[in-house]
Amino acid sequence: MLPGFVVAVAAGAASGEWMWRVTSYHVDPERFHVNTGVVFRKRLALRRERIRSVDLTADPVLRMLGVVTVRVGTGEHAGTEGTVTLWPVRQESADALRGTLLAHAARPDGPGAEDAGDGMLARVDRRWIRFAPLSFLSPTLGGAAAGGTLQVADWFGMQVRVVETVGSWFGVAPALLVSAALAVGLLLVGGVATVAIWVEYWWNHTLDRRPDGTLQVQRGLLTTRSISLEESRLRGVEVVEPLAARLAGGARVDAVATGLATSEEDKTDSRTLLPVAPKEVADRVAADVLREPSTPPTAAQLTPHPPAARGRRLRRAFGTVLAAEAVLVVLGLLLTPVLLHVAWISALVLVPLAVLLALDAYRALGHTLTGIYLVARSGTVRRATVALQRRAVVGWTVRQSVLQRRAGLITVVATTAAGRGAYAVRDAAQQDGLTLADAAVPGLLRPFLVGADLPERVLPPG
C-alpha cells in the first residue's frame, strides 16, 4: 500500500499538469480568449475594451519557478463571471499580456508619450512600519494568540495546567497589576504579528504612473503582487485615518475607481494605493494621483456642520453607554451587587471616552465642493475624507429622520459606480446639504427643490 500522501501529491501533480495542458489563451483584435476545463470544456471570451484590470500575483514557490498568477478582471458586478484567472504564466509572458490587454487605456497622445506626471509617485519608507501595530489587528491577533495557546495546550491535555499557572501569578502580585501585565504581553505579541503581516504585504511597495495610462501598485515580501488600475477608471481618492494611526499622525490613501474587485476578500487591499504613512506624504500622494498641482481636494477647507450634529453624536454616545450600564444595573439588582460596582467603575471610564469620541466625530464632519470634486469627511474610529469627481455622481439619496428634521439636519448621499458605491455627507445643515447636492450636479436635484432660499441657478440648461 502506498502512503496516502504520495497518492495525494501524485494526483495533485497530475491534475495540475492536466489543467495546464488543456488551458490556453490568445488575444485577437476584439477579444481575449481563454479555453480551459478538464471535464467541462469552457471557452471564455472577454471583450478587450471591457478589461479593466490585470493583476499579477506570485507566491514564494511560483517566484522560485519564475511564473505568476494572472487575474484579468472586467469589473462587472456579477460575481466571479467577470474575472478570469490564468495560472501559471511565465513572468515575461504575463508582463507582455498585461501590456497588450491594457493598451486600450493608453492616452490619446499615443503610448509611450512622456508626461510630466509619469514615474514613481510613492515608495514605501521603512520608518512607516511604526504605524503598523497601531491597528485593530494588534489586539485581535493578541487575543487569537491567547486562544491558540489554550487550544494547543488542550491537544496535549495541558490546558488545565496552563490555566493554573496563569492563575498562580495572581497570588504573587496584585490582581490589577497581573491583568495589566497580561494585557500588555498579549498586545506585544499581537503587535509583533501585525508588523510581520505589514512587512509581508507592503515590503518593496511602489506606486507608479505608467506611460500606458495606468497606476500600478507593486508590493509584497514573499508573495509579490502587482495591481494595475487604469487612470480613466479613477473617480477620486479617499484619505483614510484610522483612529490609532491618526493619533500618530498617519493616513492611508485608497483609490475610488470603477470596476475594482467588489466581491473578493482583498477588496480593501486592492484599492489601497498607499499604506498608512505620515499625513503629509498621504496628502502629497493623493494630490499626485489626482494630478492636482499642490494641495489635494481632500485637504481642502471644509464647511463645518451645525452644532446640532454635535448634540446628536453626544446623545447617541450617552445612549449607548446608558444602555450597556442599564443591563449591568438590572442584572446587578437581580443577581449580585458586584455587577453594580462593575457598572459605576466602567461608567467612570466609558462616559468620558464616549464624550471624547462623540466630539471627535463631530469635528470630523465637513463638506465642500472644489472645481471638479465633491469632498466629504466623517468618522472617528475610521475617519475618511473622500474626494469624488462630481461627474461620477449617478444619483442622490437624501435621508432625514424625524429627529434630524427637528434639528434642521440632513444626510445627503451621493451614489456612484466607483468605490463603495455611495458616499455620505452626514448631518449637514438642511440648507447646506441640499445646496451642495444641487451645486455638485447642476440640474439634477433642482426640479425637486422648493423654498424661499433657493440659490441662483448654477448652470443654464443645455
Partner: protein, 173 residues
C-alpha cells in the same frame, strides 16, 4: 470655491418637495397583509405551543400577546402613514421617489445614468394587482424602487423609461 453657507434670511427653508404621484391605494391593503403575516410568524407558533404545553403556558402566551398587540398596532397604523408618505414621480430627466415616515428618504436617479428598468410582482402583490418598479444605475447602492404601483401603470412606466433611457446614450458609469 467653497459651498455656500447658511442663508440667515427668514423664510421657509430649502427642502425637497413631495413627488407628484401617490402610490396605488391598494398598497395599504398589501402593506397591512404583509405586517399581519409578519406578526403571525412568531405569534401563531407561540400561541399553539402555549395552548398545548400547560406548564409553560404563561411564558409562551405572554410574549405572544405582547407581539400580537405590537404587530396589530403596526398593521393598523403604519400602512396609512406610509401611504401618505410614499410618493413617486418620473420627469423627462429623472426618477424621483420619497419613502418612509420616521426615516424619510428621497432618491433621485437621472435617466441618463439608468442602466436597467424592471418590474417585479411578488405573490402578495399579484393578489392586489400591484407591482414594484426598480430602476438601477451603475451604483450598487443607487437603485430607485417604487413599491405599490398599479401593475399596468408599472408596466407602462417601465416601457416608457426603457425608451427614454435608450434615447440618452451616455456612459452610465
Amino acid at each position: 470655491m467653497t459651498a455656500p453657507t447658511v442663508d440667515e434670511s427668514p423664510g421657509p427653508a430649502l427642502r425637497l418637495r413631495p413627488p407628484r404621484h401617490a402610490v396605488d391605494p391598494r398598497a395599504v391593503g398589501w402593506w397591512s397583509l404583509q405586517l399581519w403575516l409578519l406578526t403571525a410568524v412568531p405569534v401563531v407558533p407561540l400561541g399553539v405551543l402555549g395552548l398545548l404545553i400547560a406548564p409553560a403556558r404563561p411564558w409562551l402566551l405572554l410574549p405572544a400577546v405582547v407581539l400580537a398587540a405590537v404587530g396589530a398596532l403596526a398593521a393598523l397604523t403604519l400602512p396609512r402613514l406610509w401611504f401618505r408618505h410614499h410618493r413617486w414621480e418620473v420627469t423627462d430627466e429623472a426618477v424621483y421617489t420619497r419613502t418612509g415616515w420616521f426615516f424619510q428618504e428621497w432618491r433621485v436617479a437621472p435617466l441618463s445614468r439608468v442602466q436597467t428598468v424592471d418590474t417585479g410582482r411578488g405573490p402578495l402583490e399579484q393578489r392586489f394587482g400591484l407591482a414594484t418598479l426598480t430602476v438601477t444605475t451603475a451604483s450598487a447602492k443607487g437603485a430607485v424602487k417604487v413599491e405599490g404601483l398599479d401593475a399596468e401603470t408599472a408596466a407602462a412606466l417601465a416601457a416608457d423609461l426603457t425608451v427614454a433611457t435608450q434615447a440618452t446614450p451616455e456612459d452610465a458609469t
